[in-house]
Amino acid sequence: MPEECIYIARSSAIAARALAGEMMVMNSADSTFFTLNEVATAIFQAADGQTPLRDIVRNRICEEFDIDPEEAQADAKKFVTELSGHGILLVSNQPLVSETR
């Protein structure tokens, strides 16, 4: 079975800023406020809509944080699902146009 290809992009409805390496994120739609840990921040920052999630995890997360690739892929999917549920990340099986810088 071919490996699932997921693209992720940051929603234009959110506000976000890094504070000491951790991302603060707020969704203006419901004013939910999150802070992301360093690994989650790295995924969030790499969410350009063009790079598949598996490449983000393999090339950036595993290298930067020395995490087991299989475990990292599973955790990343879980994290992406959660943040897309809060309207913070957009998820598609096609490349997305990022509306944020």
Partner: protein, 368 residues
């Protein structure tokens, strides 16, 4: 500690300007009787300059950005500025009288992902509101705009500044907010004008009425706790700061002047002449503000309210000493609890004297 206050503390510890209040103009379509601003344009920053400032603020770590004025929509480029700010992923709040917001603007504000809008409403009675703003039909237009914004699903708060002319109208404005499905906040603070004139201070509501407001459970949440006698200040309270102005927030005027807060007119530098972070990190004025702990305050450090007072260092500065008491806050502490402050006792007062003599220090770097 909530996640938000945890983040605020972290920003203070790291010296990060988490929040910035930016007035994009002092021009206004209303002429409110209590307003402290000079509405002439003395050389506002251009669209290009403001975008450059926003780039710098994003780089500096600013997350919460409040646009205010004057009336923000007096700038034709205002929504372009908001759009740029949102692309830089700021959390954007807007303060406005909303008179120039129609369905189209409301929709655009929602599309841009603005977090919240605060709108001034002085009374539920059109004639009282319009007499304060001096703009005929402003009540009707403002309320219409609130409906447009609410229909778009935006978070709207009515800000009700109280003064002698509308002091009995807060219940009516609160009912209006309920009817419109928006939040309500009350503010009894009137500050002197930028030209130093203190004439507007005569519009302040008398202290006795302040007491009624603080003891009104419809206006104050957790009223019992809010009005409880002060607890002795802890060692932690005395080592702390009375306000986040200059620690994790600052104010930028339409001319690029940077201050610790909109209500703290201590000039620290001008963003047209220096980089924002150079002003924030190295200005002697910011350093001085940050060096002051509650234990360093003259009079206030020994006050029974020291641990709970909302002392505004900006108002204290306007009274002549940023380490001194802010009489307006002494009044608030007294009328909340009935317990005299150290500042009052020092003057032999058992009740606050009416109206502190505040002097609004004129902006130093206003460009002609």
């Amino acid at each position: 500690m909530s996640l938000m206050s945890d983040v605020g503390q972290k920003a203070t510890n790291l010296g990060v300007p988490l929040a910035v209040h930016m007035d994009v103009t002092y021009r206004c379509n209303e002429r409110c009787v209590h307003c402290y601003l000079d509405h002439d344009d003395h050389g506002e920053m251009t669209t290009f300059e403001i975008k450059g400032v926003l780039d710098q603020l994003a780089e500096a770590g600013v997350f919460f950005l409040t646009f205010s004025g004057g009336e923000v929509f007096m700038r034709r480029d205002f929504l372009e500025i908001v759009e740029y700010a949102r692309r830089l992923m700021f959390n954007v709040k807007i303060k406005t009288n909303a008179v120039m917001i129609h369905e189209k603007e409301a929709r655009r504000i929602r599309e841009l992902g603005v977090d919240a809008i605060q709108i001034s409403v002085y009374s539920h009675r059109p004639e009282v509101h319009d007499a304060i703003t001096k703009l005929p039909h402003s009540f009707e237009r403002t309320v219409k705009a609130i409906r447009f914004l609410h229909q778009q699903g935006l978070r709207v708060t009515i800000a009700n500044v109280l003064m002698t002319a509308n002091s009995s109208d807060h219940a009516g404005v609160q009912e209006l907010a309920d009817e419109l499905g928006v939040q309500y906040t009350l503010d009894p603070t009137i500050t002197p004008m930028m030209d130093g004139s203190t004439s507007v201070l005569s519009l302040r509501i008398p202290g006795e009425e302040l007491s009624e407001i603080f003891h009104n459970p419809d206006l104050v949440d957790n009223q019992e706790e809010f009005c409880a006698p002060p607890k002795p200040a802890s060692a932690e309270d005395l080592e702390g700061y009375s306000c986040s102005a200059g620690h994790s927030l600052c104010y930028i005027s339409p001319y690029g002047d940077v201050f610790p807060c909109v209500q703290f007119p201590l000039p620290t530098g001008n963003i047209r002449q220096q980089k924002f972070l150079d002003i924030w990190n190295y200005s002697p004025q910011f350093k001085e503000v940050r060096s002051i702990r509650v234990k360093d305050l003259t009079t206030c450090s020994s006050c029974s309210h020291a641990g709970s007072c909302s002392r505004c260092p900006g108002l204290a500065y306007m009274e002549g000493n940023m380490r001194g008491p802010s009489t307006a806050d002494c009044e608030k502490s007294f009328y909340k609890t009935g317990v005299p402050t150290a500042n009052m006792l020092r003057q032999g007062l058992t009740k606050p004297r009416a109206g502190a003599q505040l002097v609004q220090i004129q902006m130093a770097a206003v460009t002609a």
